[in-house]
């Protein structure tokens, strides 16, 4: 059974004047790594939003673990427990420290001590153990991205979604972040869907989906 599945999904904006996705069908299996590529405006971000219920299809259906999900409350629960999202612009809360930004995403009733322990463990894994008490404005783009990755992984998600996770980073930092993401995702057996403009980055993934004008133009699997 696919982890997440889109069936004939169409997403329109402005009362149908803008069609972001025009009947996309796509299934992501557990443990799969997927690169979503395509030109600007091809519907990549909309697709990513639909995969985690941040947006809702105009028509068609989205299934998570075989169940059609329409309710936004159910989607919130799924995102809290099973989905980790790495946003292109990090989406960190500026007034909180790196550790607090991770803790704020922690699902369930977890003791304070355990919260702190788990968040520090992840910060250590992304090489930021010394920056736990720093706030995002005091950190570099690469550091912020690593905090965002740590946050996405805090609940040991089954699906990690990343919108250009290396887009704001230089080549060295980008590669480091990507290796880290692949490593963590691979070791936990989670699926990864990642938007990227770079072929070299896409090559890290086992599958590449190309979107053009809101439609899947190509869907290929690497060896």
């Amino acid at each position: 059974m696919a982890l997440v599945e889109l069936n004939h999904v169409r997403r329109e904006f402005d009362g149908g004047r803008v069609v972001a996705l025009a009947g996309v069908s796509l299934a992501i299996e557990p443990g799969e790594t997927l690169a979503i590529v395509g030109p600007s405006g091809s519907g990549k971000s909309t697709l990513l939003n639909l995969l985690c219920g941040l947006d809702h299809p105009t028509s068609g259906e989205v299934k998570f673990e075989g169940r059609v999900i329409c309710d936004r409350t159910v989607w919130r629960r799924i995102r809290a427990r099973h989905v980790g999202i790495v946003f292109q612009s990090f989406c960190l809360l500026p007034e909180l420290t790196a550790r607090e930004n991770i803790e704020v995403a922690m699902a369930g009733n977890v003791r304070d001590g355990e919260r702190k322990e788990r968040s520090l463990e992840l910060l250590n894994a992304v090489g930021l153990s010394g920056r736990a008490d720093h706030k995002p404005p005091e950190m570099s783009g690469g550091e912020r991205q690593r905090v965002a990755i740590a946050r996405a992984l805090i609940n040991q998600p089954r699906l990690v979604l990343a919108d250009e996770p290396t887009g704001n980073l230089d080549q060295a930092n980008g590669r480091h972040v990507l290796e880290l993401l692949m490593d963590v995702v691979g070791s936990k057996g989670a699926a990864l869907a990642m938007i990227t403009h770079e072929s070299a980055i896409a090559a890290f993934c086992g599958r590449r989906v190309t979107l053009i004008d809101g439609q899947v133009a190509a869907d290929s699997t690497h060896a």
Binding site: D55, R76, R77, A80, V83, C91, V104, A105, R151
Partner: protein
């Protein structure tokens, strides 16, 4: 990270706005406490003042407009005294007069043979002699405030009286009272054979069932007049009820303003933090989680405002009770029940004010909110 810490971050992160909101809530809470407390203080003083000489019942007019407004023939006294179980009956003539052409003073006239004179705890001097037509006994507080002692003269409504004694009282009303023999006050006020009410003491020991029976018999003897206990009598005075209604209205308006203030502040906060709320929703925070975060912010500010408001309210009562016009009538009055009522009302208002902004926050579309970065 706990929601409490996050809410605290938001409040501390906007110090000026949070401080002004807390101050607004504190003023509303203080105003509400002060107006309610001062009027309850007046009522409590009256009740304690009536009770102090060991009075069990009062016979007076129904729904009298003010404490000084009643007029009952003095001739009713023997009928009331004849009721079985009644130990003492005393007519009382009450009025408010200008003293030394500056302050206002409650003046009470007691019959020369009244048990009320016998209950006095004199700090100095004596009660007016039977032939003394210008003797007066002052409560200790008003004597101190007016810097008067035994033998001094005091001008009551432009007539000179001589201070015969100074009495100790525990009630605020009586500490600020001037006591004159009834016949002198009746002549002075041109109200011959008339009293404001009767104070009645029952024979001791008092059995509640027996007291209830005596009350019924007193009611029968009193005819058109009503028998009250001390609390009923003071709360039945129409002027007090009107002032209480005004005080309650002012308190409600103030708390209403606090509601608008907290709602405005939190609405602004929600609008400013659309992106942040979008992030929380994107991370999977439930509607309840987001709702309770905003509510918590409102509650924290309201709670701090309420605590500050209590202190401020007590300060306002102090200032009000020391103004020349209010001296002797108003006093700072605070009870646990009043504090609990004011704090719980303020917090309820704060929660109510935070509800709409909190609900608005849950309605944000996370994808749309994230685009606002």
């Amino acid at each position: 990270m706990r929601k409490f810490q996050l809410a605290l971050h938001h409040i501390v992160g906007r110090p000026l706005r949070s401080a002004l909101t807390v101050l607004g809530i504190a003023i509303a809470c203080a105003g509400s406490l002060a107006v309610t407390g001062l009027i309850q203080g007046v009522q409590d003083s009256l009740e304690q003042g009536m009770e102090e000489p060991g009075v069990d019942f009062v016979v007076g007019e129904r729904a009298s407009f003010s404490l000084v407004g009643g007029s009952i023939p003095e001739s009713l006294a023997p009928k009331l005294a004849a009721v079985s179980g009644v130990s003492d009956v005393s007519g009382v003539l009450f009025n408010v007069e200008t003293v030394d052409n500056s302050a206002n003073l409650v003046v009470s006239g007691w019959p020369r043979d009244s048990f009320l004179w016998k209950s006095l705890d004199l700090a100095a001097g004596q009660i007016p002699a039977p032939d003394d037509s210008h003797g007066v006994v002052l409560g200790q507080s008003i004597a101190t405030a007016l810097k008067k002692t035994v033998g001094d003269e005091i001008e009551i409504r432009f007539t000179k009286f001589k201070i015969a004694g100074i009495a100790r009282f525990s009630s605020y009303l009586n500490q600020n009272i001037a006591l004159i023999p009834l016949d002198v006050l009746q002549q002075f006020l041109s109200r011959r054979d008339s009293v404001t009410f009767f104070q009645i003491r029952l024979a001791r020991p008092i059995d509640p069932e027996r007291a209830s029976q005596i009350r019924m018999n007193l009611a029968a003897a009193a005819g058109n007049y009503q028998v009250f206990d001390n609390g009923e009598f003071t709360s039945d005075i129409r002027l007090i009820r009107i002032i209480r209604a005004i005080a309650d209205t002012i308190a409600a308006i103030m708390l209403g303003l606090a509601l608008v203030l907290i709602a405005t502040t939190l609405l602004m906060a929600v609008n400013e933090r659309t992106y942040e709320i979008g992030v929380l929703a994107a991370l999977g925070w439930s509607d309840f989680g987001i709702l309770s975060l905003i509510l918590l912010e409102g509650l924290l500010m309201t709670a701090v405002g309420a605590v500050l408001g209590l202190g401020l309210g007590m300060g306002i009562m102090q200032v009000a009770s020391h103004t020349a016009v209010a001296a002797g009538y108003l006093r700072p009055y605070i009870t646990l029940a009043l504090v609990a009522r004011t704090v719980s009302l303020t917090i309820a208002i704060g929660t109510l004010g935070a509800l709409y902004p909190a609900w608005r926050a849950t309605r944000l579309d996370p994808a749309e909110a994230l685009r606002r970065q």
